[in-house]
C-alpha cells in the first residue's frame, strides 16, 4: 500500500527529457507541453518575514538588507526570539522609600532558552523596537570603499560615453580648420551640448584617494593562555553561530547578539519558451492560494499503482495501474508502447491493453464532500482490462515481464490523452473550447525483482 503514496514511482518525461514525478511538473497550456523546474524561469514576487508575515517591497527589502525590522533570531539556535515581560521594582532616586514597579522586556528563545540577559544586555523598556542595532566596527571603511568603486564606475562610464561621441568631434576639427576655437564655437552654439556636458563631467569626477589596506606579515604572537588554560566549551561559539553574525564574528558566547530575521521570497514561474505565467501566488503572505496555477496534476491523468506485483525474472505478472482523471470532462486515454529507443532505464517488457480507456469526469461532490460516487455501470468495461472503476479513477491491468534478474523493474509507455482547453486564449477564436491530443512518456518503477526461489518475497511485494 505504501507504494501508492510513493510519488517517485511514476515519472513523466518533461519536454526537455528530464523525468520527474507529476507533482513536480508544470503544464503550459499555450505550448501544450510539460515543463519541469529547469524549463521554467523563477521570478521573485514579494518578500516577507516568515515569522510576522509582513509583506515588504523589493526596494524596501534591499534597503534593509533583506531583514525583518521586527523579528529576531536567536544567535544560539537560529529560532525566533519572543519577547517576555517581567516586572522590576525600581526605587525612586529622589525618595528612597518609594518603590515603583515597572514592566521591562527581554528577548528569549523558546527552544534553547537563550535570553538577552545571558549576554548582559539591559532589559528594554518598550515591547518592540527597544533593541539597539549593533554597530559594525568596519562600517565606515566599507562605506568608503564602496563609494570609491561607485565613483570609479561613474568615471569609466563617462569615458565610455566620451568614446561614443568621439566621432562628432570631426565637426569640431572642421571648425578649427577655419580658425574657430572651442570657446568661440560655444558662443556661437555650435558644439553639441551632450559632448560639452561629458567633458565637464569628466573633469569633475575626481576619484577620492583611498588608502590601501596592506596585509602585513607582523602578527602578534599567540598568548601562552592557549597552552595553559583549560578550554571551556560552553564559552566558545560554534562556527555556524559565529558566521551568522558576520560583522562581529564573536568568539565567545558572552558576545553573541540577536540578528534580525532574514526575509524569504514568494516566487512566480514563467514558461521559458512562450513567456506566459505558469504559477502566480496570492499577494497576501498568509494565503496559500494561487491566482494562476497551471500544474500538471490538474490537467494530466495521474498514474499510480496500488499493490506492487510479484516480479520474477522472465515470468509474466499482472500489475494494476490506477488512472485518475483530474478534469471535469470525460477523458479518453490510450496507453501506447514507448517509442524511445535505447531507453536504459527500462528493464521489463510490457503488454498494454489495446483498447481506449474512458475516464469519468471528476465530480467535486464526491472528492471534496465525500458523497457516494455513482456506480460505473454507465461504462461498458472489459473486466480483463479494467479491474475496477470508482468515480474518476479506474484500474487498468497490464502484463509485465522483467528482463533482469535482480534490481528495480522499470516499465515505460506513452500516455496519450485528450486535453481540452477550457479557457480560450484568443478572443477571436470562434469555438469556445479546443481539444488537443497529448502524449507523454511515463516511466514506472514497480519494485525489486524477487528471487525466483519459492517462499521468498521481495521487500516491495506483499504476500496475498
Amino acid at each position: 500500500m505504501a507504494a501508492y503514496m510513493e510519488w517517485e514511482r511514476c515519472l513523466l518525461d518533461c519536454s526537455c527529457g528530464v523525468s520527474e514525478p507529476i507533482s513536480r511538473l508544470y503544464f503550459c497550456r499555450y505550448c501544450l507541453k510539460l515543463r519541469c523546474r529547469e524549463c521554467v524561469s523563477h521570478e521573485v514576487d514579494s518578500h516577507y518575514c516568515p515569522n510576522c508575515l509582513e509583506n515588504t517591497t523589493s526596494a524596501e527589502a534591499k534597503m534593509r538588507k533583506n531583514r525583518c525590522p521586527n523579528c529576531f533570531d536567536c544567535p544560539s539556535c537560529k529560532h525566533t526570539l519572543s519577547t517576555r515581560a517581567t516586572t522590576t521594582v525600581i526605587t525612586d532616586p529622589t525618595d528612597k522609600t518609594k518603590t515603583t514597579t515597572k514592566k521591562v522586556y527581554y528577548l528569549a528563545c523558546g527552544f534553547c532558552r537563550w535570553t538577552t540577559r545571558d549576554v548582559a544586555m539591559p532589559d528594554m523598556t518598550v515591547a518592540t523596537g527597544g533593541l539597539k542595532e549593533l554597530e559594525n566596527p568596519h562600517a565606515n571603511w566599507i562605506g568608503g570603499v564602496l563609494e570609491y568603486y561607485m565613483e570609479l564606475g561613474q568615471l569609466e562610464k563617462v569615458q565610455r560615453d566620451k568614446k561614443k561621441y568621439a566621432k562628432r568631434k570631426t565637426h569640431l576639427n572642421l571648425s578649427d580648420k577655419y580658425g574657430l576655437t572651442s570657446v568661440v564655437a560655444k558662443k556661437r552654439g555650435m558644439l553639441s551640448p551632450a559632448s560639452l556636458q561629458l567633458k565637464e563631467q569628466a573633469d569633475k569626477v575626481k576619484v577620492r584617494d583611498i588608502s590601501n589596506r596592506d596585509a602585513s606579515d607582523a602578527v602578534e604572537p599567540l598568548s601562552q593562555d592557549y597552552y595553559t588554560t583549560d578550554c571551556i566549551l560552553s564559552d566558545i561559539t560554534t562556527i555556524s553561530q559565529r558566521l551568522a553574525l558576520v560583522e562581529l564574528q564573536p568568539e565567545q558566547t558572552k558576545n553573541l547578539f540577536p540578528s534580525r530575521k532574514l526575509l524569504i521570497i514568494r516566487r512566480s514561474h514563467r514558461c521559458k519558451e512562450c513567456e506566459h505565467n505558469l504559477t502566480k501566488s496570492d499577494f497576501n503572505p498568509s494565503s496559500i492560494k494561487f491566482k494562476i496555477q497551471m500544474v500538471a496534476i490538474q490537467h494530466i491523468p495521474e498514474i499510480r499503482f496500488i499493490k506492487p506485483p510479484m516480479l520474477v525474472f522472465n515470468e509474466e505478472s499482472e500489475v494494476v495501474l490506477t488512472l485518475t482523471n483530474p478534469t471535469v470532462i470525460q477523458s479518453h486515454v490510450n496507453l501506447l508502447p514507448s517509442n524511445k529507443e535505447n531507453d536504459k532505464l527500462v528493464t521489463a517488457e510490457l503488454v498494454l491493453p489495446s483498447s481506449e480507456l474512458i475516464l469519468a469526469p471528476k465530480d467535486e461532490t464526491v472528492t471534496d464532500y465525500g458523497e457516494e460516487p455513482s456506480d460505473g455501470s454507465a461504462y461498458q468495461d472489459d473486466p480483463s482490462i479494467v479491474t475496477f472503476r470508482k468515480a474518476n479513477k479506474i484500474g487498468v491491468s497490464v502484463k509485465v515481464k522483467p528482463t533482469i534478474e535482480s534490481g528495480n523493474v522499470w516499465i515505460a509507455f506513452i500516455l496519450s490523452h485528450q486535453y481540452t482547453n477550457m479557457t480560450p486564449m484568443l478572443k477571436s477564436e470562434s469555438s469556445g473550447v479546443s481539444t488537443f491530443q497529448l502524449e507523454h512518456l511515463v516511466h514506472v518503477n514497480l519494485g525489486q525483482v524477487s528471487d525466483s526461489t519459492a517462499g521468498s518475497h521481495s521487500p516491495g511485494s506483499r504476500p496475498n
Binding site: S76, C77, F111, C112, R113, W114, T115, R117, D118, S234
Partner: protein, 186 residues
C-alpha cells in the same frame, strides 16, 4: 484506583495536591505544595523515593527507582528529588539525584546514572543517560542534544502551582496528606 495496596507507603506533605488516579507504588515521600497530576506514575522499586516541595509532576510522567538486576540486593538506592522541579508530560526519569529548579520537558528520558544539579533544563525528546553530573544551569536541547550553559535559572512555576492547587480538587479525587511528616534535607 491504580495503586498496589500491599507495598504502598506514601507520605504526603501539607498542602500537596496528589490526585488519586496517579500510580504510586512503594515507599514514597512527597513534600509540601507539590502537585501530582492524575496518570503520573511514581514507582519505588529498588528503594524509597523522596520528592521535595513545590514540584510539579504532570500527566504520563514516570519517576521510577528501578531495580537493577545485576546489582547486589543489599544496597538500598534512595532517589532524592529536590524542590521547585517540573516534570512535564511524558517525561521518564530514573535518575537518582535531582536538585532544585530543574525542568524536564515533555517526553525526555533521564537515565539512572545521570545526576542533575540545580536549574538544568532537559529539552523535549532528549535522552540523557551517561554517568555525569550535569553542571548548574545546563540546557540540553535539539535532536543532537546540544548543550548550553545559561546564566539564569529557569523561572519557577509558582503561578501554575497555585492555579492547579485551586482547580484540581474541583475535578479529581485527592489523596489526603498524612498528619506527620519528618523534616527532609532539601
Amino acid at each position: 484506583m491504580a495503586e498496589k495496596v500491599a507495598k504502598s507507603n506514601v507520605k504526603i506533605g501539607q498542602g500537596a495536591v496528589v490526585c488519586a488516579e496517579s500510580d504510586l507504588q512503594g515507599d514514597i515521600t512527597i513534600g509540601a505544595k507539590t502537585v501530582v497530576h492524575p496518570k503520573a506514575t511514581i514507582i519505588a522499586e529498588a528503594g524509597p523515593i523522596i520528592i521535595g516541595d513545590y514540584n510539579l509532576i504532570e500527566e504520563q510522567s514516570h519517576i521510577i527507582n528501578k531495580k537493577v538486576t545485576d546489582a547486589d540486593g543489599s544496597t538500598m538506592c534512595v532517589m532524592i528529588i529536590g524542590n521547585h522541579n517540573v516534570f512535564e508530560v511524558g517525561s521518564y526519569v530514573e535518575a537518582l539525584k535531582i536538585g532544585d529548579g530543574n525542568v524536564l520537558e515533555a517526553k525526555c528520558k533521564l537515565g539512572r546514572l545521570t545526576e542533575l544539579t540545580n536549574g538544568c533544563i532537559i529539552g523535549p525528546m532528549c535522552e540523557v543517560n551517561i554517568q555525569e553530573t550535569l553542571p548548574e544551569n545546563t540546557v540540553i536541547y535539539g535532536s543532537n542534544c546540544n548543550r548550553r550553559v545559561q546564566s539564569d535559572r529557569p523561572p519557577t512555576q509558582a503561578l501554575q502551582l497555585e492555579f492547579l492547587a485551586k482547580i484540581l480538587p474541583n475535578y479529581h479525587h485527592l489523596r489526603r496528606p498524612t498528619k506527620t511528616l519528618p523534616k527532609l534535607n532539601p
